[in-house]
Symmetry: C2
DNA sequence: ATGAAAGCGCTAACAT
DNA sequence: ATGTTAGCGCTTTCAT
């Protein structure tokens, strides 16, 4: 390339990377030759030299969960505004795969990592090790005992809204259907559920706390279990929308009227939440805001790291989500 | 690292890359030192040296479309079996963004690229240029006039199954709701629809051919349009499940019974297809098989490229999908 | 303003 | 079996 243009590699570099002084004429010549040859800078070599890749890595527990894909979309947009690209990895809900992906992102010298850890404890070691080497922010979920930035929603506050709305709709007893307590989301949401239901004096039987998996199938199975008990709760609070979708569907199959007999709520506000029959009342996560904060924290961390400064103290940013009321719950006026 | 272990960098390389002869003792020593130092090979430098990254790039039109995410999942699994990683990019349904992503994948020297082009013609230049430099296979959708491998389903055969099933359920007229004719999927599906409906002697009015977007919203809007006409078709054939989800939902809102008054079919068999009310009859795409073929083609192309051989002739692999019959259509016995 | 040359971390060829 | 060394393509002093 340099030969073709009859200049030195240094000049080519100066033109193509936009650093240093080059005469307009040289600039034009290099540009034109590059065009003709279809030449592109080799970003591997550039990354090796600069130890910067303008790429951010993101690891999500499951790429088939619509909540995470919409979060990915928000992050991509936020990153696009900074001229950075996203390298997305799927942890397949497996801390081991997750650890491999994190290691590989480190090895590829991404400039920072955004991770929603798949497991509340098992993800810990890998996340902490990664954070020791690179700017890292946890998104949505977090791992206990780690020392990193985090951005997500205030699950406790969200559950307060959910319970209050259900209570206003006449519910005096409630069930909680979530995943196993292996991630922070379910933990926090269950804690918030218990606390507020307690404050409201609602009945919460232990056999109504059903924990397994963030899937539609589990939501369906949970209803089968509930239906097998002697009493049905007035409300079923689900830890995410996929579960809630399964729950409403199974209620229909079991002839349990929603929201007439049982009120149902979800969490996340994925697109399909409004499509189910009945449309799901759920907690809307402010994804764009979450993404923007995460990208901001990453940029800040990268900057202070480049300056050789010690790591900033960690920020934990909890945004308060809002309740989206649809048809799977009763509004206050419907109270008996 | 080499100094810490008291060996040469070459030995370290031999141990850590698993090539060449090293005595067991050395091997142990290097391994242990690497462990202690938390040392990881710099895969940027390795990639620069080997001009191989063990990474495949994938570009999809929209990461929020569940069909593509499940395809991504299948590709990741297939790739995992070969020890390769996936670098996923979202084209945001925009050929320009897509072109940038492709260029950036080339610059990062991925070993191959899997792309589902977002546009049937506008994606052409970028896809072809990319294919001239790297092994590339188009998945699901393809761009006309390009010379690359392709794996997808036989849309024509799929539509034949759909129409025949609808016909058996008593439909004598049909509408088609799809995206604009800017991608091969809709083009092929509409062509298949027209051909088979013609062969069956079904009525297809031009104002029943509604083309806009692969979204739930468009499905809903399309029904509003149909409902405004003087006659309703016996069946609505949708170009994908998102549209079909919108269609069935809007039918419910308009008091149009599905499948009693109108039969509805989707395409892709995304997870939510079975969850809608009524559950959607749709065409199941064999994703795992599609992904496996794509990965195989990529590996073959990479191998022959490494051998300096001229490019193999391109393969176009069309798999025949299968119809999944659920509740949004009438089975033959329900025929009047 | 431009060029020459060193070096980022790795691996393969060659030498021992 | 192990070490030495050149060079992947880039950027960046340091000369000119």
């Amino acid at each position: 390339m340099a030969r073709h243009a009859g200049v030195s590699t240094a000049t080519v570099s100066r033109v193509l990377s936009g650093r240093g002084q080059v005469s307009p004429e040289m600039r034009r010549r290099v540009r034109r030759t590059a065009e003709e040859l279809g030449y592109q800078v080799n970003s591997i070599a550039r990354a090796l030299r600069n130890s910067r890749t303008d790429t951010v890595g993101m690891v999500v527990p499951s790429i088939t969960n619509p909540f995470f894909t919409s979060l990915v979309e928000s992050v991509e947009h936020a990153l696009g505004r900074e001229g950075k690209e996203l390298f997305l990895c799927d942890a397949q809900s497996d801390p081991e795969v997750e650890a491999r992906r994190l290691a590989s992102l480190v090895a590829r010298s991404v400039d920072g990592i955004i991770v929603s850890p798949s497991h509340g404890t098992a993800s810990g070691a890998a996340v902490q090790e990664t954070a020791d080497r690179l700017p890292l922010v946890q998104l949505d979920r977090f791992v206990g005992g780690t020392d990193t930035d985090w951005v997500g929603v205030d699950d406790i506050a969200a559950m307060r809204q959910v319970i209050d709305h259900l209570y206003a709709g006449g519910a005096r007893s409630a069930s909680f259907v979530g995943s196993r307590l292996t991630n922070s989301s379910t933990e926090q949401r269950l804690a918030g559920f218990r606390r507020r239901a307690g404050e409201r004096g609602m009945t919460v039987r232990e056999e109504w706390i059903l924990l397994d998996d963030y899937t539609v199938e589990w939501g369906e199975a949970a209803v089968a279990r509930l239906a097998g008990l002697d009493t049905l709760p007035d409300a079923i609070v689900c830890a995410d929308d996929l579960i809630a979708l399964g729950v409403t569907r199974a209620c229909r199959a079991h002839g349990i009227d929603v929201p007439g007999r049982v009120q149902v709520t979800g969490f996340d506000n994925i697109e399909f939440a409004r499509l189910s029959e009945p449309a799901l009342t759920t907690v809307d996560q402010p994804r764009d805001r979450i993404a923007a904060e995460a990208v901001r924290l990453l940029a800040a961390a990268a900057e202070s790291a480049a300056g050789g400064a010690p790591r900033d103290p960690c920020a934990h940013i909890a945004l308060v989500p809002s309740l989206v009321i649809r048809d799977s719950t009763r509004s206050a006026e419907g109270t008996s």
